[in-house]
Symmetry: C2
Subunit: 311 residues, 2 copies
């Protein structure tokens, strides 16, 4: 893994993804005392950066693997991303989703052409279901955040942000499974000079914080957070990259997340999902350390059920 792995990946996926805009808000600058640049991945075709890694993983498959299709387990944005990437590339995508996932999320996966297999809402059940599908159909398993092809893809949002705003002092991202954080930290290392990468994480699902600072991979003890995209855990590929290239993980409370989310909606005029607001909340809680600095922030996604807004 080096700079050329990322550059090759970016060139490969470019025809299949949108070049999302970078927004700037004088109001949020003066509120935080920083100069803030928002890379709006909520404007990606399926509403999140996850399409980058999904497309990249599928483009790495052999002809034989493509014919066998792919399978993943996700109730979140990677489900939609793999479904859409599969439909763009003519590869069958099967998504294992908990039977308890909302109709809102299932409908989105179906709209993008994904096949859904339901399972009980436990880690064991979803892994068993995915394994069974691999055996039965010969499908290739693509992990939503721990697959190296996926991690490289997720790093390309940071590359575009740094192309447009070189010389950033720091970039904030949310951390759940760690694919975005690992990819971003690697990309900032190769293309960002001294740019630091800092992740926001909910107190209520703080496995990455505890893993990062203890040096050993820890699980979540709770996942009682509104940031439903961040309930997942680091893996054996994402964790070493995060340890090596990321600079800090900052935990935030649920009220801080909701307040930051409202700020993004009201001031930046975008629909950002709670996971994106976690990165903003982390910056706000640490703003005293970043006064006058040029900060990037990746708005990871905008998939929100408007019937379930926290405000």
């Amino acid at each position: 893994m080096d700079a050329s792995s990322l550059t090759d990946c970016h060139n490969l996926i470019k025809p299949y993804i949108l070049r999302t805009p970078v927004l700037h808000s004088p109001a949020l600058d003066s509120l935080t005392g920083t100069e803030l640049y928002f890379k709006c991945e909520n404007f990606q075709e399926m509403g999140a950066y996850k399409i980058r890694g999904a497309v990249h993983a599928l483009l790495q498959l052999t002809e034989e693997e493509r014919a066998g299709g792919v399978v993943t387990h996700s109730s979140g944005n990677f489900a939609q991303a793999l479904a859409l990437a599969g439909s763009k590339l003519g590869i069958k995508a099967t998504i294992v989703m908990p039977a308890t996932a909302s109709e809102f999320k299932k409908r989105a996966v179906r709209e993008y052409g994904g096949a859904i297999v339901e399972c009980p809402p436990t880690n064991e059940a979803r892994e068993a279901a995915a394994t069974a599908i691999q055996k039965e159909t010969g499908a290739t398993f693509i992990h939503p955040s721990n697959d190296m092809r996926v991690i490289l893809g997720q790093g390309t949002a940071c590359m575009e942000l740094l192309e447009e705003q070189p010389g950033l002092d720091a970039i904030f991202v949310p951390v759940g499974g760690g694919g975005l954080l690992a990819g971003t930290a690697m990309a900032a290392h190769y293309f960002g000079g001294d740019c630091r990468v800092i992740a926001g994480e909910p107190y209520e699902a703080d496995d990455a914080y505890r893993s990062f600072y203890s040096g050993t991979l820890q699980g979540n003890t709770t996942t009682n957070t509104i940031a439903d995209g961040l309930k997942t855990m680091l893996g054996d590929n994402s964790f070493p990259l995060i340890r090596k290239y990321a600079h800090a993980i900052v935990r935030v409370t649920e009220p801080e997340i909701i307040k930051a989310m409202r700020l993004l909606w009201e001031r930046l005029k975008i629909t950002a999902e709670p996971s994106s607001a976690v990165a903003m909340a982390a910056l706000i809680s640490k703003k005293d350390e970043f006064q006058g600095q040029r900060i990037g922030l990746i708005i990871s996604g905008g998939n929100v059920d408007l019937d379930l807004l926290p405000f």
Copy 2:
């Protein structure tokens, strides 16, 4: 008024406004059967295109006029726009607002440095209040939509859209006081080739529709619409320009507006105010006539009180 009036205006105001991005959504393309480009003026500093006209009007003042300050009457986005433009240019801006205007709107005006004078919520009262302020302070009155300097400024959003997406077949905008429609229609005439300009208007405030098709200026009989930015009426400057350069006005119902607004929030991932959704609703209601065409749509603003969402 010719092409150079618009070009001069654009060059003058550029340092004071944001170059807003143009968004594109494959999902909304396939939903409408058109190729849609959204000029996102909700991302302007105070959340709407109105800053363009406000800055342009202030830049045209003489030194003496600048010293005397400006006054307008508006309970909507022009109030914020004139306050912000005034604070950027060091010109005192007084805004006559109905005492019944929401705290949400008053706070925004104050945040941007505007002075508020309250009046009873009638047309007569607000005009009387503005006239009194002119007399007492020597302030110059700037009409929110009928001032020619304002109309020229509002046309610059269309110029930027056409720069980025030349050869559009049509551009949809909302119509209230007619400043945006007049400016856009003029700009499309000079810079858009055969590009038609079509306005959306609520049935519940359809003065522009009736004026346009009857040939004489008509008033509103009701203003019972969620699109609070469109309750105003055409004026003696905006109306002749609209008659000359615009191509059609399409009326939409309140449920159509709310449905289009939700679509913009869910699919385009932006917070667009109901007035912007009126343009989208107009396109949707006429989509059969625009199949396969390249369409621009100006998202006029994103100032929404999240506590008062219609969904």
